[in-house]
């Protein structure tokens, strides 16, 4: 059955990533340093000086979902670099010359990115529990958070692959990644609430997918009310599907 084959191929591409990580997981651990610093240094400091209006939650509680989302964002937006590198060493050529449909390769790659995202999420969970951040530990909510993390990583890694199809070099992808991550991060509700933003920035943050992700994770980890959750998930699903379809169509350009 074709659909079954399609899913099998995607899982195989993700499996390839998992096996690589098993052989050498150095990158995963070094990727932890940045979010850890945000939590431990930035979070703790601002928690102490109480400079941010974080509502009924402590500031460190407030930014934990933000940092989680941010670290997954970084991984997935730079995932295009990995794909360009794999193109340079011929792996993409090889993958695209198999009978597997191209879209299944793209989906698989995005699943591979979310595999890394999930690892980040686990470590940030562990870290925040370790430093005593109070988060809700409802099993359904945790499953929900991981689902959002997976979807989110798929969304931005496929956007990254879409961009990589046109950019084609690692240097350019590095530049694009840098140019995208910081604006996305600062124009979101990750480290401060939207209410403190200047008006123009508020508008930008509404169009910023990261805001929806942070909102979704925050509602599950902290608030426990799911009023905005359907909209958050819908926005994320729509953009993920869109980017996946587009990237599947453009990935061949990477080889040109």
């Amino acid at each position: 059955m074709n659909f079954l084959r399609f899913i099998m191929s995607s899982i195989t591409v993700a499996e390839m990533e998992a096996r690589k990580i098993r052989h050498d997981s150095t990158e995963l651990w070094t990727r932890i340093i940045q979010p850890a610093l945000w939590l431990l240094v930035f979070g703790e400091t601002f928690n102490t000086i109480r400079a941010m209006p974080s509502g009924s939650f402590s500031y460190i509680q407030f930014i934990t979902p933000g940092i989680l989302a941010q670290s997954v964002l970084f991984i997935s937006i730079f995932y295009g670099i990995t794909v360009v590198w794999e193109k340079d060493v011929g792996i993409i050529t090889k993958l695209l010359s198999t009978p597997s449909p191209r879209s299944s390769i793209v989906l698989g790659k995005s699943l591979a990115a979310s595999l890394r995202g999930v690892f980040q999420a686990i470590v940030i969970f562990a870290l925040s529990l370790l430093i005593g951040v109070k988060i809700r530990l409802d099993p359904f909510d945790i499953v929900g958070v991981f689902a959002v993390v997976i979807l989110f990583a798929m969304c931005f890694s496929s956007l990254s692959m879409l961009l990589a199809s046109y950019m084609k070099t690692r240097d350019r992808m590095m530049g694009i990644g840098q140019a995208l991550t910081m604006p996305l991060f600062f124009a979101s509700n990750a480290i401060y609430p939207i209410s403190v933003m200047p008006t123009w920035l508020k508008y930008i943050s509404i169009a910023n997918p990261l805001s929806y992700v942070v909102d979704a994770i925050r509602s599950m980890l902290l608030v426990g009310t799911y009023k905005n959750l359907p909209i958050d998930i819908l926005a994320l699903t729509v953009s993920t599907t869109l980017f996946l379809v587009l990237a599947s169509r453009t990935i061949k350009k990477l080889l040109e």
């Binding site: 191929s9 390839m16 052989h23 060493v89 011929g90 993958l95 198999t98 009978p99 597997s100 449909p101």
Partner: protein
């Protein structure tokens, strides 16, 4: 004379058929320009030419990695443009640059590839085992590929292309950058695959020795076009054959030389040059001839017609031009990936 290999393997089934195939890149470069050829089932077919002749682009169009601008392309009668996935199921492809994942083991590379090629789960391990054995890699199957030598990586790539038992194996510059002994080993395997399993093989190469050694038929490409197509033997015959030079101890009396052996094209007092169709076979005949006429021969040398002469004749340039860049690049690949 050796029997012509093409008549031995003659098969009426056409494996690959290209008709007026053209690829124009966006910058207006005609990489492949109105090329037509057909590859018969069971033969080893070579696309020979220098850098930028359009060999790799032609191959990429067959593997559906590049889209033709115009023309027709069929693999076992199936339209490559309409059913790319069905076509890819029949192919095994080894690109020019190293394409195995050096962060995985050899076994894992084959496993992933087998899964992506939808090899039946029950047969998968058996096929991987056979492919590793066939390529002489069993002992190192669980080592990370980055610890492999260049020749081993190339063999692993061929093993990888074999797990889905392809009907056609496409090899883009299979021995580029390899040292002579690895090269010989790779050649041996390629020939074996063709003989043992009847796999149709298409190779691209700039190496005349390789084309001569492996191919039943060759299409010489230059600037996006096929300059000439034929078996290496015929092509070499076409440029006139081998020249045997005989040097005498003392000046040679005028003699009439038998036409069956060759034609004298040049002579002076102490030496003559004879044009023959096959130099090696002619030498003993020539030696016998002079011995029977009691003419003492000092030395006999042979200047073999090679595909470079053929290339020179049809493409009006030498094959070696601009070749070293490619070799260096692939050598760098090997160095970079093996640590």
């Amino acid at each position: 004379m050796h029997p012509d290999p093409t008549t031995l393997k003659a098969s009426s089934v056409i494996a690959i058929e290209a008709g007026n195939l053209t690829k124009i890149y966006r910058d207006g470069i005609r990489a492949v320009n109105d090329v037509s050829f057909s590859v018969k089932q069971g033969e080893i077919f070579g696309l020979l030419g220098p850098n930028g002749a359009g060999k790799t682009t032609t191959m990429k169009m067959i593997v559906t990695l590049a889209k033709a601008t115009s023309g027709t392309l069929n693999v076992f009668g199936i339209n490559v443009f309409k059913s790319p996935e069905t076509v890819r199921e029949m192919l095994g492809y080894v690109p020019q640059s190293i394409s195995v994942d050096t962060d995985l083991t050899a076994y894992e590379n084959l496993l992933i590839f087998a899964k992506l090629s939808y090899v039946d789960k029950k047969e998968r391990n058996e096929r991987i085992k056979n492919a590793l054995e066939y390529m002489d890699l069993t002992g190192r199957a669980n080592d990370l590929v980055k610890r492999y030598s260049g020749g081993m990586m190339r063999r692993l790539e061929i093993a990888q292309a074999l797990v889905n038992l392809p009907k056609i194996l496409l090899l883009d510059e299979p021995s580029i950058g390899l040292d002579p002994s690895s090269k010989k080993q790779v050649w041996k395997r390629i020939k074996q695959l063709n003989q043992d399993f009847g796999i149709t093989i298409l190779i691209t190469t700039h190496d005349m020795g390789e084309a001569d050694e492996l191919c039943d038929r060759i299409a010489i490409m230059s600037e996006g076009k096929i300059a000439i197509l034929g078996s290496p033997t015929d092509l070499k015959k076409d440029v006139g054959g081998d020249i045997v030079t005989v040097n005498f101890v003392s000046s040679c009396p005028t003699i009439s030389f038998p036409k069956e052996i060759g034609k004298i094209i040049h002579n002076n007092e102490k030496s003559i040059q004879i044009l023959t169709t096959n130099g090696e076979e002619a030498i003993p005949l020539i030696a016998d001839f002079f011995r029977s006429h009691e003419i003492r021969v000092e030395s006999i040398s042979i200047n073999k017609a090679n595909l470079d002469d053929v290339f020179m004749k049809y493409a009006k340039r030498r094959l070696e031009d601009g070749l070293y860049k490619d070799i260096r690049k692939t050598r760098r690949d090997f160095v970079r990936y093996s640590r």
